[in-house]
Structures are given as C-alpha cells and as structure tokens.
Amino acid sequence: MISSVPQLTDLTKPRILLMGPRRSGKTSILRVVFQKMPPHETLFLESTHAVDIRLANNNPFLQFQIWDFPGDFFFNRVSRNGGEGGGGGRELGGSMTQEGEGEGPKGRELLDEVGVFGAPAALVFVLDAQDEPYHEALTRLVDLVARGQSVNPSLHVVVFIHKVDGDLFLSDEHKVDCQRDVQHRIAQELRDASLEHVEVSCFLTSIYDHSIFEAFSKIVQRLTHQLPVMENLLNYLISACKMEKSFLFDVVSRLYLATDSNPVDMQTYEMCVDMIDVVVDVSCIYGVKYDAKGEAEGPVYDSDSSSTIHLSNGMVLYLREVDE
C-alpha cells in the first residue's frame, strides 16, 4: 500500500466526481471499470464511508482524478466527514496510482465547494433506476448542480441512470421510459431552481453490459481537449485504410478515448473490448519478458506487438499500440 501526498500537478488534473445516493453503485462502477472486478462480485462491496480519491494515469490522454463520494455525503457536513477520513486507498491495478484521502485540515479544505468543484471537473451523478421514487435523489442532484455551477460554470453534469438491468428493465421500452421520466423531472427541477442553462446528459448504464464503459468513455472524452484532433486522425485512418470503425482505447480500463465520427455500434465496441481482453490475457502468458533475475519486466503488450483476429463473418479486428 503506497500512500503519497497528492502532488499539485495531480490535483489540477480534471476530476470525475462520482456522487449519488447510497447504494446506487458508485464504487461498483469504479471497480468494474478500473479494476476489472467481475460485476457480480460488486454485490459484496461495502459502502464507502469517506471520499476516496484515486488518480487514473493510464496513459497521457487518460489522466484524471476520480473522486468517489460516500452516499451520505453532504456539503454541510463537510467537517464531520472530512474528519472521519477514510482509511487510505485500496490497491488499484495497472499503472493507476493511488492516493489516500487527505486527512486532517488539508482534507477539510478540500471538501468544500471550491475544493471539490474548483478544478475542471465532471460531476457524475449515479442514480439507482431500481430505487423509485427518484424525487429525493433528484433534489439532491439539483442542489449539487447549483453548488457546482456557482463555483465552476463549465462543470459537466452527467447522470447515470444506473442498474437498468434485471427484471425491472427487460425491454428497451422500459429503459427509454425511465430515461424520459428522469430527464423530464430533472428538467423540471432545474427549471424550478432557474438552472435551465445547465446541460445535463443522461446515460442508461449497467455494469452487466458495456453501457457503463461507453458512458464513462463519453465522460473521459469530454475532459480530453485533444479529442477533435484524435477524432480527425481516426477519420483519416479509416478513410485511407477503408476500415469500418476505429477506436483509440485505453487498454487498461477498456475505455475508448476517441473514435471516428461514424456512429458507434455497441456490438462493434463490445467485440473490440473482448478482443483486448483476449489479447492481453494471451500476452500475459506468452508475451512476458523476463530480465536477468527472472522477474517480469515491461508491459506485456507494447508498441512492437500487434494482433489480428479474423472472424468467420469476414470481419477483421486489428489491435495495435499507438506510440505516445
């Protein structure tokens, strides 16, 4: 367990603030997306009691802090929560560094509105779709939006309508209804708080499929300034090579940092994710280099590697690392 005092540079990196009611699945999302936890194991996760700040630093384009707030976090209780201070961080996989929540006075300073929303940030409000009514949660969302907007007008607000799986959401129609309902209420609440100008985008997510990855990718893309350039490059790539679709992946988290401007088909995306899993797994077995001491060294899949998978329907998947 490595604990380090947050560097100033780290703190200025864009933040993803995961907020939402208790047991709505915030930590589960993080575990599934960033730590490859199997979705069904998230059932046994304990609730988060303190703000948990991690740094995602997988590659030059994927650099941000993820703030995982406890479900009962309220700004007016900052001092109490800050004082309790969560017990450090848990080990995060890959190159993700980890930092404990600042304790003591420093932590308290962090957790007022300015501290939270002061840097470029995206507020991700996770809403449990299976936990109706949504009224209380949405009131809280509006409160957070109001606070955030006052500090940081460029705050991105994203609502994950989460857990749209299981028996309650068998058909797409249910999901759309739910989304429409939530959006309608949010619009109303925002109007009542005279915050109509705030753009709130909603995603239907579930950790049991790839929708959470897609939604998270969208957030990451919003925080990435280089997106138009990367998108254009990918456009030229598929245009020149007559590809159907291209993604720029963060292999560790399987989020896509950019894609060309053709519509993303979920199946294509899932296939690519599966391919990454397969390739990385195989590489871990056969592609590991050993140094003199017999210890594994270096990344298992580097810029020298490439892989091609031919599918029986004529589709070809190609994976290659793009040099930094």
Partner: protein, 1016 residues
C-alpha cells in the same frame, strides 16, 4: 472521391469527377460525409459537401467553361460535419450539423457564407438536421443523446421542443413530405419512430414557449417529450439494425425507407407505417453498408424500357407498356432521349473509390430544373405517368451506386406461409394465404413493370477491390437480359421456363396440381424456400425481373405460357382468400373460366395454333381438352397453373389490358375516395341534359353513350382497365347493329388477335382505334362499323384472351353471331373478375347501364348478357349498397335504390322510409308532388331528418301558399339540403340549424316545440 453521375436512360454515367477536375488543395476535403444539391437556386448548380474534417465545401458545377469549381471552403466546425441541409425555400441558407455538438446556419448572401447563427442542442453530437419542408423557420435536429429537438431559427437559446424517444444515438430524421408536423426518426436502438409534433390542443402546430410551457402528461408508452409531452409517437417500427438514414417515399405518405449503419445488414428496407413488423420490400445488392439513398421517380421515358421496347417489336413478351394509351412514335422517343441527356435530368454526386470510400454517408439529391422537367412531362403526357416513385438509387461503402427498382425488390411478405384452411359443407375450400399479400398494392406496384434497370448498376473503378467481381456481375446481368430477350421469340412455354430463374421460387404454386383426378387430391403447401433463391430471383434484373411481377399471386388470369406482365387486371387487389369448388372429380377454383369446347373447335385450335406459332396443343380433341381441364386441379394460383401449364393453357394469353397503376388499390382511404367519386360521377341511366364531359347529346343509343361516357370517367379516375371494360360493353351493346354488315371484320379481327397474341403492343392500337377513332366516326361509315366489330374482337382478345379459342371464328360471314356468342362469355367473365377483385361498384354500374333502357331488347337483358341468377345479382347489389352506407354515401345509395326494381332490395332499403312532411304554417301534409321524398334515409341527429327536396316539387304549400322550404332562421328559401323537425315541421339550412341547436333545444321559430332532445 466525389463524382457527378448522370441518371440517363443508358444507365448511370459518370459526368465528372470533382476530385480530378480540381487542383486538390486538401485531400482531406474529399473525405466527405454528406453532400447535397442546392435545389432552390435553379440558375446555378450548387453542391455542398460536409467533410469529416469539419469543413463545408461548396462546389459550383454550372460554370461557363464547364469546369466545376470550388466556390468556397468553410472551416465550419472543429469536428466532423455530419449533415448539411439547404433551406427548401430560401436561397443560400445552409444548416450544418456537427459532431462538435453544434448546429450552424450559414448564409450565402451578403458576405459569402457567413455563419449566421449557432445553435447548441447541448445533447452531444448532432447527427442529423433538416429544415421543415414548409415552415421556413423551423428545423429538427437529431442528437446522440437520444433526443430529437425542434428548433426555431429565430430562437437561438434553446429548442422549441425536445423529444426523448430513443435510447441511444438518434442517427437520422426526416420530415414527412406532405404532412406538416410529422417527423420520422431512426436510431441506433433499432427503431424508427414517427412523431406527430403538432400541438394537439390547438390543432395548429407551432409549439411555442421554448423550455417553458410543459405540462405533464400521463406518461404512457410513447407519450410525451421531455418538454411538453404534446408530441406523440404515431408509429414504432422495429428494424433489424441501427437505422442510418431514413427517407419517406414521395407520393406514398405511409411508406418510409431505411438503411442500416451496421455492417452485415446492407439492405434498404421499405416500411409501411401501418404494418411495422415486416418490411414491404427489401432492396439488396450492396456488399457493404449502404450509406445513403434517394427515391427516384420512375422516369416515364420509353428509353427506360428501351431494351424492352426493342424486344417488343420482335414479338417479345408484352412488357409493360400497355397503359392503354398511345405508344410514342420512334421519333418522339429520340427527341425525348436527346432532351433528357442534354439537360441531365438528375445528377448525383457520388462517393467512393479511393478516398471517400469510407464515409457512411454520401448524400445525393437530384437536381431537376423545374421548367425543363415540366416540359418533359408534357412531352411524356399521354403515355406515361410520373409520380410513382418506384426507383431508388443508393450508394454504399463498397463503392457502388445501384439503381434499384421496387419491382425487383424482394418482398418479405411473400415468404410467409399459408395459415389456415377450412372446408365448408358445400364443398368449398377456403384458404387464407398470408402469402398473397398486398405489398404490391401498398407499393403501388400493380402496373407496368419496367425492366432492364438492373443493367444500370454501375461499377466504378477507383481501385476498389470488389470492382472486378462486380463487373462480372454486371456482365452476368447483361447476359440474363440478353437471354431473356432471345427467348422471348421462342414458344411461350419455353420462354416461361427460361424466364424462371429459380424453379423453386417461393412464390410458386402453393398448390401442386395432382396429376390424377382423385376425389380429394392432396394439396401440399410448398414449404417456404430459403431466402436465397428469392434473392436470386430478384437479382436478375431483366425480363425475368419484370416477370416476377406477374408471378405475384394475383387473382387474375395469368394463365398461359408466355410471360409479360400478365397482371392484366392489376395485381393490386389480390385477395387473400380464395374459394374453391370441390367438384365430383376435381378441385377447381370457382372463378376459373371453364373452357367449353364446341364441336367446331378443330378450327379454333388451328387458329390458336397459328396464333401462338406453336404446336403444343395436345391433339386438339375437344374431349381431351375437357379432360385436361378437368385435370386442372386446384388452380387457386394462377401462377401455379401457369407454370404447370399443360398444353391447354399455354395458348391462353395473359391479359395485358392495364398497366397503369390505378388509384384503386392504393390504400383504404383512397378506396373510399374512389368509391365516392365514381359513385357520383358514373352516369347509370340516360339523362336529358348534357353530361359535363361531352357535348354530344345522349338521347339516341343511350346505353352505348353511357358506356363511353363512363369509360371516360373511369379513365379520368385512372382506372384504365375499367375504361376498357366500359368501351367493350359499349361495343357489345351496339354490336348487333354493327355486326353482320361487314364481312371483312373477322379477318381483321383475326389479324389483330394474332397481333395481340404474339405479344405485339396491343393497347395503343386498341386505344387509338377504339376510343378515339370510334368516337369520332362511330355513326358514320361502314368502315367504322367494321372497325367496331374488330373492336369487340380486339377488346375481347385483350381482356380475355382465352376467348380466341372459344368463339367459332371459322364462320367469317357472321361476325355478329360471333359477337352474340362471345359477349355473354366476355361479360360474365369480366364481371366475375371484377367480383373477384371486390369491385362491386363497377359491377353494379355495369348492371345498371345494361338495364338502363328499362325495357330490354330481346337477348340484351341482364340475365342474357351476364348469365347470372337473379339472386346473385341481388347479392351484388346488396353488397354495393352496404358498402355505400358504410362509407356514408347516402345520396348515391338513395339514388340507386330509387331506381331499382328489385322488390327485395326495396324491402330492405326502402321500406318505412316514407317521410311525411307537413307545411309548417298550416300543418297540411305535403304530398309527394309538393316536397315529400321517399328514399333511403340515414339516421341523423335526433329530432330531425335530412332529405333533399326534389327540384321539381313546388316550393309553395298547396293550401296556405306559404313557402315550404323557408329557413326558420334566415327566412330565405332553402336550396339543397333542407333539415326539418318532424314534430313541428319547421326547418331550414342545415348549418344554421346546427348552430342553433348547439346552444338551444327549442324550435327557432318560437313555436315552443322542443325539437332537440339530445345534447343537454
């Protein structure tokens, strides 16, 4: 790669390649996502392209030196331009929707292309945008967040209306072409939704108030947008894959075509919004994702069927052409051709090849300069019809542009299998074929089938790997065409076989005729074939493609070996149910014409043989014919029968009467309209006054004149076939007088018959000689009379070719006898056909005209002419009356019943319909001579009844000399519909009274009578 392609009769011809003609400044600008012609500016050919690097490139194609030039390159967006859309009305206004979550409005006026406004839907990338077709300030945008937004261009701060209906990206939208506030959207969630954006409460649609006025609506499925909840989903179509592009079919308000954005589904589906589960038609042929397409109105130029036409002259299968009007002379054809090539009827930019091959979307539009086109249309008038929109041009990532024809598209409905069968106690077998669907009717496909368009499939090099392969395909297509053509000259049965590309075509007979006469032959249903064969059949574009049209189950006699669109009576009204008689020995459909052979049939057979140029007839012994007919087994399917055609049937020509799409079968509402119009416009009995459409008096030879008049009506209505029937009836009714005077008639008749039979173009001839020539000179010379005699022959040949075999044509001196003998068969068959189609209206009209002289001449009464039992006739009448009443066409029904002599029908419809009207002043009953009317009375609003005062009745009361028909409210005499209260006798204009009784319940005259009990 950006190319401009001419759509010409010869195919798709690359006119210019913009990439080569221009010094390419930036390769990147050719990575194009969307292109659109500026249709508004007719003086110049402006073309806008949205590129993936966020630029919009404006091309001016109409330069003097003929070289396209880049008018302007706008660095419009930082990210990809997903869609561009010119303003439909205002010149030079261009909308661009981009991946960068914004929509920008560009104005060409003033400073060249400056950004006039930027709209931020704040819902992620904007995938599609389109101006409202009629409201110049509104446009709709489709966003990746799943929302569809309606914007007012004057309100830049927020959308007027926001619809949440899709989970996932909305990829395409299009406004309905005619309905003002209907919008179709297609999304990645594999659905197409049709929205009604009009404000239900006010009726007029502009939803106002921006983000403000939303009222919650009770959230049912498909109810309510985020804002307002006033829009509702009219229709939800579940497609098989993400919808990439969506286009309404012009002229068919309920049809919409979609493409998919997912690899693996390279088809274009045409859907009917009322039948959202199976597409009406599916276009195949692309090998990669189809990026974009446009509907193309079927060019009604002869050159489009020019290959077919050339085949024509050689006696090929009577292709389409027979729309019953004049065939253009070759000179005219050339002229049109030149003109068309000259003016580039349509131009279309095109993707592909080297660079642009990737993009999903290359839009294309047709630039049609309106004036020229109108000129064209004029030229084409008389023998073509535009506005059927049966073609579609699509481009795909495989680098190909394909011209599709609906006639060749596969129809998924065809693959459905029969579902139920039931045997009645009377030995009638009833089956319901899901398979016999109405796709054709819905698609407006009954009618001329063009062929050879498939040859137009164009291949572009551009280094595409599929090029060579596709070229091979093209060659194959040509082969197929050539083969089809060559076989056209062969005996019909051979031709039929050659034309068949897949013997196990799923449209082929449901019923396999059993070879032996068993009491209960088994009727195996053909299992649905793998769709591959279906696909194959449709991919053959040439004559067989055209023929596939008539392979469609149609209730019409398509027996006979030779092909040609044998959908003589329009495949439109295909019936789903067929009734078979279970006879002692064989099953045969009731409606099937039974061939009865005379002893004289030797000659007939010889004639037939000569006509067909084949010697397929088995021996020609009557008995044998009878037997083989007996063997005819369940011929529920004409097609089946055709295919299995033993020699007997192969000589029977398919009917070729009608090829023009008639309005009759397009949709239920059209049906009602048509019934109403025809019901009112048909003149069923002689009238003293001049008819609106002709200046000739109708006093003499009334029935014939009625027939000709009604033929005109039918023609105006687009019912060409019915027009022929009327013409024929007219000739038949005047036949005895005409016949017998001219001996040469029959030989001509025969010649013509041969012409028809060998597949030369029959209709123009018939029409020209028949309707025009005859009308002008009908009463004049013997020559003309003889022509009439020919007419019957011609008409009968055309309408019912089998009669050629039937009539004793070997007695050349008595053509009148021939006619006498023929006409009953002709008429009864025609009527049977009409009934089969459900055309009770036309049947009744025919009956009425036949009976219209009152006292029928001997041999010309209804029973003599048609040969129906009175009960049958009565059934038809009752059916028609019920139809009229269902459509609330009381007046037509009333008039019909009034003139009917059938006591039974009178008992049904005219009993207890006497209305006893009384003078409002003195209460004296008004006699029939002074205002009362007897007739069919509809149930009307309580307390009042409507009737029309007969114009002849006196407007004055016989006793008190008061004005009977005075309106109680305005005190003016009422003309037209007079409504009165049977209680107090007061009445007046219907609208005045409605207004009055909306608020009051007592009589407006103040007599104290409480006329209106309903309401409050």
């Amino acid at each position: 790669m950006l190319k401009i392609i001419n759509v010409s009769p010869l195919g798709l011809v690359v006119k210019s390649n913009l990439r080569l003609t221009h010094k390419v400044t930036s390769e990147v600008n050719f990575s194009i996502h969307d292109v659109e012609w500026c249709v508004k500016d007719t003086s110049r050919a402006l073309l806008a392209c949205g590129a993936s690097n966020g630029n919009i490139i404006l091309w001016d194609i109409s330069n003097r030196d003929g070289r396209p030039s880049q008018e302007r390159v706008i660095a419009a967006h930082p990210r990809t331009v997903n869609r561009i859309n010119w303003h439909p009305q205002e010149e030079g206004l261009l909308l661009s929707a981009s991946q960068d979550t914004s929509i920008k409005l560009w104005d060409r006026r003033g400073r060249l292309y400056h950004c006039q406004a930027t709209y931020q839907p704040r819902a992620e990338a904007v995938r599609d945008v389109q101006w409202h077709p009629s409201k110049p300030d509104y446009f709709a945008a489709a966003c990746e967040s799943g929302s569809v937004q309606l914007w007012d261009r004057r309100q830049g701060q927020g959308p007027v209306q926001k619809l949440m209906g899709h989970s996932g990206l909305v990829l395409a939208l299009e406004w309905h072409l005619t309905e003002p506030w209907i919008l179709a959207t297609g999304a990645r969630d594999r659905t197409v939704k049709v929205w009604d954006l009009s404000d239900q409460s006010t009726g007029s649609a502009v939803p106002e108030g921006g983000a403000g006025g939303g009222k919650e609506e009770g959230g049912g499925v498909g109810r309510g947008g985020v804002n307002g909840g006033r829009s509702k989903v009219l229709c939800l179509i579940n497609t098989v894959s993400a919808v990439n592009r969506i286009k309404w079919r012009p002229g068919h308000p309920k049809q919409v075509a979609t493409t998919s954005s997912v690899q693996g589904d390279n088809t274009i589906h045409v859907w009917d919004v009322d039948r959202p589960y199976l597409p009406l038609a599916t276009f195949e042929g692309h090998e990669d994702v189809c990026g974009s397409f446009v509907w193309l109105d079927t060019p009604s130029l002869p050159e489009w069927g020019s290959h077919a036409d050339s085949a024509h002259g050689e006696g090929g299968a009577g292709e389409s052409a027979g729309n019953g009007s004049s065939h253009p002379s070759p000179g005219a054809q050339r002229q049109v051709q030149q003109q068309q090539q000259h003016e580039q009827l349509s131009r279309r930019p095109r993707p592909s090849g080297f660079f642009g091959n990737w993009g999903a979307v290359w839009g294309e539009t047709f630039l049609q300069s309106k004036g020229q086109r109108a000129g064209l249309q004029e030229e084409m008038d008389g023998w073509t019809c535009l506005g059927v929109w049966r073609h579609l041009i699509s481009c795909a990532r495989d680098g190909r542009v394909i011209l599709h024809s609906l006639a060749q598209a596969s129809r998924p409905h065809d693959t459905l299998t029969p579902s139920v069968v039931s045997l009645s106690v009377r030995g009638e077998l009833l089956t319901a074929h899901e398979r016999v669907d109405r796709s054709d009717a819905f698609l407006g496909l009954h009618g001329r089938k063009r062929r050879a368009q498939g040859l137009f499939e164009e291949e572009e090099g551009g280094g595409h790997p599929a090029g060579a392969q596709a070229e091979g395909k093209q060659g194959m297509d040509k082969d197929a065409g050539g083969r089809g053509k060559s076989t056209l000259k062969q005996p019909p049965n051979v031709c039929a076989d050659a034309g068949r590309t897949s013997p196990s075509h799923p449209r082929r007979p449901l019923y396999t005729p059993s070879p032996l006469c068993t009491p209960f032959p088994s009727i195996p249903a053909a299992p649905p074939q793998p769709s591959k064969s279906l696909l194959q059949a449709h991919n053959i574009p040439s004559p067989s493609g055209a023929r596939s049209a008539d392979e469609r189950p149609s209730p019409f006699l398509a027996i006979g070996g030779d092909g040609g669109p044998g959908h003589g009576f329009g495949a439109g009204a295909s019936m789903a149910n067929k009734v078979f008689d279970v006879d002692d020995s064989c099953w045969r459909p009731r409606f099937l014409y039974r061939m009865e052979w005379d002893e004289d049939s030797e000659h007939t057979l010889a004639v037939a043989r000569a006509i067909e140029g084949l010697s397929l007839l088995p021996g020609g012994r009557p008995g044998r014919m009878e037997k083989s007919k007996g063997d005819g087994k369940p011929k529920g399917h004409r097609v089946g029968r055709r295919r299995k055609g033993n020699g007997t049937e192969s000589q029977v020509k398919p009917m070729q009467t009608d090829s023009v799409p008639s309005s009759s079968v397009s949709s239920p509402s059209h049906f009602a309209d048509r019934i109403a119009r025809l019901g009112k416009r048909y003149v069923l009995r002689p009238r003293g006054c001049l008819l609106p459409l002709q200046s000739v008096g109708t006093c003499c030879r009334a029935r014939e004149d009625l027939c000709h008049y009604n033929a005109e009506i039918a023609r105006l209505e687009g019912q060409w076939r019915m027009a022929h029937v009327w013409e024929m009836l007219g000739v038949i009714l005047s036949g005895p007088r005409a016949g017998g005077k001219e001996g040469r008639g029959v030989s001509e008749d025969e010649d013509r018959g041969i012409n028809f039979a060998t597949g030369t173009h029959g209709h123009p001839m018939m029409d020209k000689d028949g309707s025009k020539g005859k009308r002008s000179g009908r009463k004049e010379t013997r020559d003309k009379l003889s022509q009439e005699a020919c007419m019957v022959g011609a008409a009968s040949t055309t309408l019912f070719p089998s009669l050629l075999l039937h009539g004793p044509l070997d007695t050349p001196t008595t053509s009148s006898t021939c006619l006498q003998l023929l006409r009953r068969e002709i008429l009864s068959h025609v009527v049977e056909e009409l009934l089969e189609e459900g055309e009770v209206q036309n049947c009744v009209a025919l009956f009425e005209v036949i009976q219209s002289t009152g006292k029928a001449l001997p041999g010309e009464s209804l029973s003599d002419l048609i040969g129906f039992r009175p009960e049958r006739v009565r059934e038809i009448y009752v059916g028609y009356l019920e139809l009229l009443q269902r459509l609330t066409l009381w007046e037509v029904a009333n008039e019909l019943v009034e003139h009917l002599e059938d006591r039974y029908i009178h008992g049904l419809y005219a009993s207890n319909t006497n209305i006893y009207a009384a003078c409002a002043q003195c209460r004296r009953p008004l006699g029939p001579g002074s205002g009362g009317t007897k007739g069919v009375m509809p149930a009307s609003s309580p307390g009042s009844a409507t009737s029309s005062l007969t114009p002849t009745s006196s407007p004055w009361c016989g006793k008190c000399r008061a004005l009977v028909s005075q309106c109680a409210l305005c005190l003016q005499p009422v003309r037209g519909v007079y409504v009165w209260c049977p209680g107090c006798g007061h009445g007046g204009h219907i609208d005045h009274l409605q207004e009055w009784f909306a608020a009051n319940s007592e009589c407006p005259t103040g007599c104290g009578h409480r006329c209106h009990h309903g309401g409050k």
